[in-house]
Symmetry: C2
Subunit: 125 residues, 2 copies
């Protein structure tokens, strides 16, 4: 069978191909909702949505905190707090290299969320 062997720790968004049937085609089961809702929640703040975009669209695929922080009128700790939210939601990874910390997007998770929201092009009658 597939990756469903035993009671796998399915409760991890970062597992590749965790889901997703489009939300508009099949009812999202409670378990799936519990796993994916936190990711949407993380994107549900304007600051985090921008942070996510800045990270995902960065030239080399990663962004330094030192580049992210000045883009907002917010304190360092606050930005750090938001980045932690994104990290805990599985949307980004962080890595320290010397003095600076770099954040990198996890495209697989973004793809899952996008797949979930996918709607058929247009209802042609």
């Amino acid at each position: 069978m597939s990756k469903q062997a035993a009671s796998l720790t399915l409760t991890d968004v970062t597992a590749e191909a965790f889901c997703c049937q489009p939300l508009a085609q099949h009812r999202v089961p409670a378990e799936t909702a519990a796993v994916l809702a936190p990711a949407f929640k993380a994107l549900g703040d304007p600051v985090r949505l921008q942070l996510m975009s800045m990270i995902a669209s960065a030239d080399n695929g990663e962004a330094c905190v030192c580049d992210l922080t000045p883009a907002f009128n917010l304190s360092g700790p606050t930005i750090s707090h938001h980045l932690k939210s994104l990290r805990e939601a599985g949307l980004v990874d962080s890595e320290r290299r010397g003095t600076w910390v770099y954040y990198r997007a996890r495209p697989a998770v973004l793809r899952q969320l996008a797949a979930l929201l996918t709607v058929e092009p247009v209802t042609v009658s």
Copy 2:
């Protein structure tokens, strides 16, 4: 002409084609983030994510509150509250027909969110 007349209240997600460049291709501007974040926020609760799915995937495109409520171990007012959140986020519409109230998804908004999260298939080197 289109709906863009003058300084249109662009701060409305429900405006067709309000956006969206994929988040991973261009930085999401603050204004766009402010408009779209509430939609993600609305999907950021497991109950609402399931409600959204139940509505969007309903047979005739609409779901009655009387069908939604029994699917959860939550009081009527609580479900109503969540449905209000979805409505205010522009994700669903509601209509009363006689005794029952029906909710219907707004596919255009879902499409915008999906477009925003779209990531290129796989980074082929």
